[in-house]
Amino acid sequence: MEPPKIWRERRERYLGIGNKCLDCNEKSFPRTDYCLKCSSKNIEEYKLSKTGKILQFTQVTQPAQEHIFYSPFIIGLIELDDGIQVTGQIVDYNYDDVKEGMKVRMTFRILSIDNEEGLIKYGYKFVPY
């Protein structure tokens, strides 16, 4: 796990910050230094909607090394209320009870813990409500 990388991405991962173009209104996540649509550098930070719905989901029973601690878990494709889509885990819910279209809210959780260094990577996950 690379501390500088975690630090660099902290506003996106911890606060859900993307950016919005002041010229064409295009919203994007993750952040970029210029608008993906019109290439303008006239952009400002934009906070993602805290709620959204599940577009698609499945269960992960064979995760990568750093996520084995949480296995099995649910992963989903989430459409936030502002139209931006992200991938994230669906937590505090049984897999069999999760349905497409279910409303979810963003929550702040541990994503993974480095086994050797003990470093913790935090980020957003989603809870159905």
């Binding site: 991405e9 993750p30 698609q56 989901f57 499945t58 269960q59 992960v60 029973t61 064979q62 995760p63 990568a64 090394q65 750093e66 996520h67 084995i68 949480y70 878990f73 992963i75 494709l77 989430i78 889509q85 992200v86 991938t87 994230g88 885990q89 897999y95 497409e100 994503l111 993974s112 990577k121 980020g123």
Partner: protein, 393 residues
């Protein structure tokens, strides 16, 4: 495109599987040596080599080409190309361009991967994390399998695709693979076994994905000029069209989950260059790393209408010598999937089929063959079209 054509003039392939006795450069050297012998060219006439590989090896030597070339006693410039699971096809495309550009007359394409060294749980999943959006999919917990599971569910929802239809893909491919001596799994598997298997990422069952393994495959390419000067070369399979295209890396940035637009775009480029349509293709080697991969492929490549690849497969239209023979080699599912080697192995199969040397898995109409190799969940696709008799026209 220029009138200069590029020809496959030789090939070599190792057995695919868990080859614990061989390291990556030994596998690559074995396939390269076989290909040089097969092509009947003096090895000093090969001017350069392109290596396709995702991770190459556990000994942290990404410049695998250097040790392979030394093992073959060659001293030529080498380039390593990485495009995830499609690294082999990506290397092939660069070699193709290097000849079309007029810089080289004779080049080698080497696809190789050595994956059986990674025995710890979760390591391959991490390696495959580099083929999806590492930051915003993989680090959030997604795996390649879980993303393919969502693609499968999307197809089931939109087109009513059933688990039986999905399972008919690996059933067919295992049936073909029985006759492929290079394949890792040379046995048929009953549809019930697929349906009864535990779900590893619902609706993907334990036996559905292609298995990662070790292997190397090589093709030697030459220009029209080289062919004219060496007309006694016994293998002369022209590349009629070749295309590559990309799509967003993450599924959450896609407009549709029921198509790989990179495949459609790459195929369109290849069809236009070849002056052919999907109907002309007799057989194809497509990326069936998951059952939905082959169903998407046969739709996106234009063999069947969108949403009908499921029924077509179940009805047997893609079986050996049916409407179109899809994956006569057994595909990634039966042959095994050493990532970088797969794209080149697909081309080796096309060439062997066109030479009529594939025994019981031989397709009867072998004039036009197509390959499709995909990176991750379709972030890149490579499509090639070959023609057996074009050289005589």
């Amino acid at each position: 495109m220029s009138s200069n054509k590029v020809y496959v003039i030789g090939y070599g392939i190792t057995k695919f599987g868990e080859l614990y006795r061989q390291g990556p450069s030994s596998l690559a050297a074995q396939a390269l040596t076989d290909a040089i012998v097969n092509s009947q060219v003096d090895k000093n006439q090969i001017q350069t080599a392109f290596f396709g590989s995702l991770v190459s090896s556990s000994n942290s030597q990404p410049s695998i080409g250097a040790s392979c070339i030394r093992n073959c006693n060659l001293n030529i410039p080498i380039t390593r190309i990485e495009a995830g699971n499609a690294s082999g096809a990506a290397a092939f495309y660069q070699a193709y361009l290097s000849i079309l550009s007029g810089v080289y007359e004779c080049t080698a394409v080497i696809g190789v991967e050595k994956l059986s060294d990674y025995v710890q749980s979760g390591v391959i999943e991490r390696i495959l994390g580099s083929t999806i959006d590492y930051q915003w999919e993989y680090e959030m917990g997604a795996t390649l399998t879980s993303l393919y599971a969502m693609l499968t569910k999307a197809h089931m929802k939109e087109f009513g695709t059933t688990l039986e239809q999905l399972a008919s893909v690996p059933v067919k491919n295992h049936k073909n693979g029985v006759h492929n001596p290079q394949a890792q799994f040379r046995r048929e598997i009953k549809i019930e076994n697929f349906l009864k298997a535990k779900r590893i990422s619902d609706p993907i069952g334990r036996f559905d994905p292609a298995t990662y393994c070790d292997g190397a495959a090589v093709v030697i390419l030459a220009s029209s000029k080289y062919i004219e000067e060496n007309s006694d070369i016994s293998t002369q399979i022209p590349i009629l069209g070749s295309g590559q295209a990309s799509d967003s890396l993450a599924l959450h940035h896609r407009d549709s989950l029921t198509t790989f637009s990179s495949s459609t775009k790459a195929a369109t480029v290849a069809y236009i260059e070849a002056k052919l349509s999907p109907k002309d293709i007799n057989f194809a080697e497509v990326h069936d790393s998951y059952p939905i991969g082959e169903i998407l492929a046969i739709e996106d490549l234009g063999f069947f209408t969108k949403g009908e690849g499921n029924k077509a497969t179940q009805e047997g239209l893609t079986e050996l010598n049916a409407e179109i023979s899809v994956n006569p080699s057994g595909g990634l599912k039966s042959r095994g999937d050493p990532f970088g080697a797969t794209g080149v192995a697909q081309i080796v199969e096309i060439v062997e089929q066109m030479k009529g040397s594939t025994g019981q898995r031989q397709v009867s109409d072998n004039n036009y063959g197509l390959t499709q190799n995909v990176l991750g969940t379709g972030a890149m696709s490579y499509v090639n079209i070959f023609g057996k008799d074009e050289v005589k026209k």
